[in-house]
């Protein structure tokens, strides 16, 4: 008969060694993972914005906004600056504001939230969209990530709130995906919510408006 102490000691030892190992690995990987996430987001920012000559990451603004409804601007905590709000990445060309990028999220995806990065120019027209996070069905709803598999991604570019931002099935002009209407529809709604927030709040917000006036800092 093995005493209960031995059982406890063995289990504690196994757990302790494993915890130590993972803690070590975490110190190695954590900065790399953080950098990968930032790089990925900036890559997407670059894709949705028109050509620029500043550093959108350094010039980014955190705008305090409330998020309501099923599709809305994504409110997140900026780790580096420690403030919460919508992170807006501005793009400047020759000192002139040419576009702003920010994340939008919707709960109306087929499985889980869909996060988009939306680029908008000062006139309120879409300059680009990229899906940064989703859990749609691979090979079906997941086709929204690429314009090769979903023509609607390109069709949305250039549209303003005054244009049709609905899938054809809902009486709009945007292509849906055969067999998967839910995902493109969710994207359209998110884009609409993003443009709406931009027109109503972000455009006039003191933080972003001030940057727009003073021009590029870099």
């Amino acid at each position: 008969m093995i005493s209960i102490n031995r059982l406890v000691i063995v289990l504690v030892l196994v757990a302790a060694v494993s915890a130590l190992l993972l803690a070590q690995l975490d110190t190695i990987t954590a900065p790399k993972i953080k950098q990968s996430r930032i790089d990925f987001k900036l890559k997407m920012v670059k894709k949705v914005l028109p050509p620029y000559d500043n550093d959108p990451n350094a010039d980014r603004q955190i705008v305090a906004l409330e998020a309501t409804g099923t599709a809305h601007v994504k409110v997140e905590v900026d780790d580096e600056r420690g403030t919460e709000g919508v992170v807006v990445y501005p793009a400047y060309k020759d000192g002139k504001l040419v576009g702003q990028a920010f994340a939008v999220t919707t709960h109306e995806g087929y499985s889980g939230d869909i996060d988009l990065l939306l680029g908008v120019d000062p006139s309120g027209a879409v300059t680009g969209i990229e899906v940064i996070n989703h859990a749609e069905t691979p090979g079906l709803g997941a086709k929204i990530v690429s314009e090769e598999t979903w023509a609607g991604k390109k069709e949305l570019v250039g549209r303003t709130l005054a244009d049709s931002i609905e899938v054809k099935k809902d009486g709009g002009q945007i292509d849906a995906i055969a067999g998967a209407t839910i995902s493109p529809r969710a994207v359209c709604k998110a884009v609409k919510a993003g443009l709406d927030a931009y027109a109503k709040r972000l455009k006039q917000d003191p933080a972003t408006a001030a940057v727009a006036q003073t021009g590029a800092k870099s």
């Binding site: 289990l11 069905t137 090979g139």
Partner: protein, 232 residues
């Protein structure tokens, strides 16, 4: 111990997915495309190898009463290692597979091999067993993913194979398709086994008949004992 057999049994005879029907949760969930299946298989292979090695080394020190929680901690540790390493060094792959990595913890193949093999066998045999089972799992889930992708999307490994004339059977990449295709593959595997067994029986029977012929010195042929097998 015959290492060759330890290795090959995971590939075919005791294939974890198509024979033992283990680890169904990741198999059904992730096999929507060939590349997803392969990534999941490779990650599982690594965890299986790590846990089999750790369990084979530690088996003498872990009392039987706490072996299951100890194995679970070991497996969870390796899964976390895969999760963190993939996020740090293969971020693109992590974006598509990251969601499924934590699922490996509950894959019963890994606990099954730790409990059923590594805890009773030597380190080298456990490594061979992990490789055989892991590769068998990877092959099965990749095949399943490739078949579902082909029928449901007309492509394999994202390469379009079937032209626009083919109307994709969407059901194959939706959850029901996983069950359907798994059934077909498992049935197909048994069919192949049956054909081979049949052929072996035929060969054995004709050998017996020949031997009988020699023994009786070419006398009128009696009913060969293997005849039933040949016709059946």
């Amino acid at each position: 111990m015959n290492y060759g057999e330890v290795f090959t049994k995971g590939l075919w005879k005791d294939n974890p997915v198509l024979r033992m029907m283990l680890g169904m949760c990741p198999v059904l969930g992730v096999s929507t495309s060939a590349i997803n299946g392969f990534g999941m298989g490779a990650a599982t292979l690594f965890v299986l190898l790590g846990s089999n090695i750790a369990v084979a080394v530690l088996k003498g020190y872990i009392p039987a009463q706490v072996r299951i929680p100890a194995y679970i901690i070991i497996i969870a540790t390796f899964v976390t290692v895969v999760d963190m390493s993939m996020a740090a060094w293969f971020f693109d792959l992590y974006l598509t597979l990251g969601l499924f990595i934590p699922l490996i913890v509950v894959n019963c193949i890994i606990l099954g091999r730790a409990e059923g093999f590594a805890s009773k066998n030597t380190l080298s045999a456990s490594v061979i067993d992990a490789l055989g089972m892991g590769i068998g799992f990877t092959l099965a889930i990749t095949t399943l993913g490739a078949c579902r992708e082909l029928l449901g999307n007309g492509s394999v490994f994202d390469v379009q194979i079937l032209g626009s004339w083919y109307p994709p059977a969407l059901v194959m990449i939706l959850p029901p398709g996983a069950f359907l295709m798994l059934g077909f593959l498992a049935a197909g595997m048994r069919r192949i086994d049956l054909v081979f067994a049949q052929r072996e029986r035929v060969v054995a029977a004709s050998r017996r008949a020949q031997a009988l012929k020699l023994a009786t010195g070419g006398a009128p042929e009696p009913a060969a004992p293997g005849m039933d097998a040949v016709s059946g």
